[in-house]
């Protein structure tokens, strides 16, 4: 039931974002792509992520990170350190449904943006705080960046596993590339904002407190479960017993056979070598025990394989295998193209480039990215409009 005319879920909703960090900026981007008019309130010198490397060629004007996280948003500059700026912000908040921010509690008080003030002045506004360790608790004022947070959430301690853990057992534990924990914080903040929007109809507006540490910990839940079961997970011991990262002649693949028939498929894929036909190996527990031995054989075999060929044959045999795709390979993948995961938008100084929309479809299609990242203050005239117009007209324009 594809209906391309269906409005996006947040059509008509208005979000205001006051952010510095990746998590809050990501939350705003999600609400924006879901259809909310999202106004990024920047200081006169611009959002700090506008300067985060790498910058995009040829003009080296736009930050890659900012371009990804601000696509589709509107930008106004507003100096919140002076009263005139705060009056301008107030005009925006009067009409907004959601305020996403990463202001510390002490900053909120100074800016008249603390919970009590917001509730009194903007009774229908939902405010979502996104901070490294949240707005309350003994670490609420602690400093943290991605690398601190991915380790504060336990996932960092558990990486690497598999081949890298075998190769480099003495090295420090490893972070996931990029902004894994902060992006979790963004998704959770968007989930909190949306839940509060649904709940607003019954219980009125409220404040939402999201901690990036909590969010990253939430997706690592199984490790805490296993601690309750009596086992303390460690990166050196949580590898799969066999399979995993395999080096091939022209790159790496991942192999994981969890079900009996998949092991059977692997035997076929490897050409039925004698060692695999050992009757003892038809027992999954025995395979688990002899994982090291199995992996020695599988790794030697893999070195002779070419990734595209072996992955195609594996999937045809029902053996779960995938190539460790380089970013450029993901961009040119026919599957992602068919699903319109990347959509061309105009980026200042870099031209039209494909930017990831959202990792899901709604109503049979990808959510449209409406624009690239805004230039600093590109939508300053919104402020004027807000001061002189009523909500219905603004909502109509936003949708």
């Amino acid at each position: 039931m594809t209906d391309e005319a269906a409005a996006p879920p947040l059509a008509g909703a208005i979000a205001v974002e006051i952010s510095r960090g990746v998590a809050a900026t990501h939350a705003g981007r999600l609400l924006c792509t879901l259809g909310a008019e999202t106004v990024l309130v920047e200081p006169p010198q611009g959002h700090p992520l506008r300067r985060e490397p790498p910058l995009l060629p040829p003009a080296y004007e736009a930050s890659t990170l900012f371009a990804f996280l601000a696509a589709g948003k509107k930008s106004i500059t507003c100096d919140l350190t002076n009263p005139a700026g705060r009056v301008e912000l107030s005009a925006l908040l009067d009409e907004a449904d959601v305020l996403i921010h990463d202001l510390r509690p002490d900053e909120r008080v100074k800016l008249d943006l603390d919970e009590q003030t917001l509730r009194a002045r903007y009774p229908r506004l939902i405010d979502v705080s996104v901070l490294p360790f949240g707005a309350v608790g003994p670490k609420a004022d602690w400093q943290a960046e991605e690398i601190n947070l991915i380790h504060a959430s336990g996932e960092g301690f558990l990486l690497p596993n598999g081949l890298a853990a075998e190769l480099f057992p003495e090295r420090p534990p490893l972070k996931v590339y990029g902004h894994f924990a902060e992006y979790q914080g963004g998704v959770v903040a968007a989930l909190g904002a949306l839940s509060a929007l649904v709940g607003r109809a019954q219980g009125g507006a409220e404040s939402v407190d999201v901690s990036i540490q909590d969010a990253a910990l939430a997706v690592g839940a199984f490790a805490l479960q296993r601690f309750g079961d009596g086992s303390l997970e460690h990166r050196s011991t949580r590898s799969f017993k066999y399979g995993g990262v395999l080096e091939c002649a022209d790159g790496y693949v991942e192999l994981l056979t969890l079900e009996e028939r998949q092991w059977g498929g692997l035997i076929e894929l490897m050409g039925r070598p004698d060692w695999m036909l050992d009757p003892a190996l038809s027992d999954s527990l025995e395979r688990s025990r002899r994982g090291t031995e199995i992996n020695r054989e599988v790794r030697a075999w893999a070195l002779e394989q070419r990734t595209a060929d072996v992955v195609a044959r594996a999937q045809a045999l029902g053996v779960p295998m995938a190539k460790y795709a380089r970013p450029a390979e993901v961009l040119s993948d026919p599957h992602e193209a068919a699903r319109h995961l990347f959509q061309p938008v105009e980026i200042p100084g870099a031209g039209r480039l494909p930017v990831l929309s959202t990792p899901f479809h709604l109503d049979g299609t990808a959510l449209p990215l409406r624009a690239g990242p805004p230039r600093l203050g590109e939508h300053q005239n919104l402020l004027m409009a807000r001061r002189h117009r009523e909500r219905p007209a603004i909502v109509a324009e936003a949708s």
């Binding site: 690398i147 968007a190 649904v198 540490q213 295998m321 380089r326």
Partner: protein, 396 residues
């Protein structure tokens, strides 16, 4: 009151990613009815030798707080019963391979014809459409397809396998998209089909790197380095396998760090004068910092750095997290009783609301534990009707 109070879910999801989505929604207030059968219980109810896990499975963390009913989906009457349940639900969640729900007669088109105001959430490896939609996959494969696995790793090492955190990232995105669709449902009465692709979630976690590649750049594995900050990394301490993470964001923080570690010579060294220079010479710098961290216990160093306003944290294991005062005070880590009556630490949904409540109010259901309520009260089946369906192995 919980924010999603009044939302009911018919939950057909299995394993990790899908059940984690509905686990979040149920803690936010949705009534989640998990559908399994004795013939096909959720594999996570059982031990799994490939993980080397002979004991209890990781089931509670995604199943607690849900209601459980048995419906045999291999039986036409079971499908009819499932449709009745869909008829009283707002959300239908599933994580079968694409095509399975259609084959069962429970595909989105049929469900929407039955009840237009329903939101269906499908969680799969590669999405419901596209040439690879039939691909089988697990968390490490999602990471591999989506470039997240390729980009993670030591500079001179292989790519890294993503594990459960990958599955649960998919589930969290699914929950977020589901609530967006529920919001629209409440505003306009319109349902919809949310189609989450796990490999696209992996892509979304490196969205900025994919954009850089689109512009001709070549993002690569950089271990614990940062593209701008230095010092930035994971450092040894005096304690065995006890690591400390440090990130220095500004020149001012750099000066404070040099003072804290009593290394004024670093401030007069031109190699470390600017952020760009520090980044170029980050390997040398790493050794200088570790010289100091090695003389400290991790907790002591963490406190000193935070007191100086420098971003630092211990690399936590799950024992640290289970007992962490901050996480306990926030209510992020709570104690629950498992099915055997033993108390253990668990995680609450990671959102705090000023008015609404969130969290678990009951533990993991036994298979079929809530059939009196669901089949009896919600669907209005008499005891006799149910006994017949049990005899016919429809409720099974």
């Amino acid at each position: 009151m919980k924010p999603l109070a009044g939302v009911r879910i018919a939950d057909f999801t299995l394993h990790a990613a899908g059940p984690f989505c509905t686990h979040m929604l149920s803690q936010l207030g949705a009534e989640c009815i998990k559908i399994e059968s004795a013939a096909r219980p959720d594999i996570f109810r059982k031990p799994h030798p490939v993980y080397g896990r002979m004991g209890p499975a990781s089931f509670d963390q995604v199943a607690s707080n849900k209601l459980s009913v048995r419906i045999n989906l291999k039986d036409a009457k079971g499908i009819a019963l499932a449709k009745k349940l869909v008829g009283v639900s707002d959300l239908v969640c599933e994580s079968f391979r694409p095509g399975v729900m259609e084959r069962l007669g429970l595909g989105y088109d049929e469900i929407a014809a039955l009840k237009p105001s329903v939101v269906m959430v499908s969680v799969s490896s590669s999405g419901q459409s596209g040439p690879d939609s039939h691909f089988a996959g697990y968390a490490p494969l999602f990471g591999a397809w989506g470039a997240l696995g390729y980009l993670t790793g030591y500079e001179d090492g292989p790519p890294i396998e993503m594990r459960h955190a990958m599955d649960h990232s998919v589930g969290m995105n699914a929950a977020m998209a589901a609530v967006a669709a529920v919001y629209r449902l409440r505003q306009t009465g319109r349902g919809g089909h949310v189609d989450i692709s796990a490999r696209e979630v992996a892509c979304s976690l490196v969205g900025e790197a994919l954009l850089f590649a689109a512009a001709g750049g070549e993002p690569a594995r950089i271990g614990n380095d940062h593209l701008r900050m230095a010092p930035h990394g994971v450092f040894r301490t005096r304690e065995e396998d006890r690591w400390l993470t440090i990130a220095v964001r500004t020149d001012d923080e750099w000066r404070r760090l040099a003072k804290l570690i009593d290394a004024p010579h670093l401030l007069s060294d031109p190699r470390f004068e600017t952020e760009a220079n520090r980044h170029t010479h980050r390997r040398v710098l790493y050794g200088e910092i570790e010289h100091w961290t090695m003389t400290h216990e991790a907790g002591e160093a963490e406190r000193k750095l935070q007191a100086a306003g420098i971003a630092a944290h211990i690399s936590c294991n799950m024992k640290d997290i289970a007992h962490d005062r901050h996480l306990r005070e926030r209510g992020t880590v709570v104690d629950v009783e498992d099915t055997t009556g033993r108390e253990r630490a668990a995680l609450k949904a990671p959102i705090r609301f000023s008015k609404s409540e969130v969290g678990m109010t009951r533990g993991t259901p036994r298979l079929g534990e809530d059939e009196d309520y669901v089949f009896g009260e919600l669907l209005g089946l008499s005891r006799e009707d149910r006994d017949v369906l049990i005899d016919q192995q429809v409720i099974y």
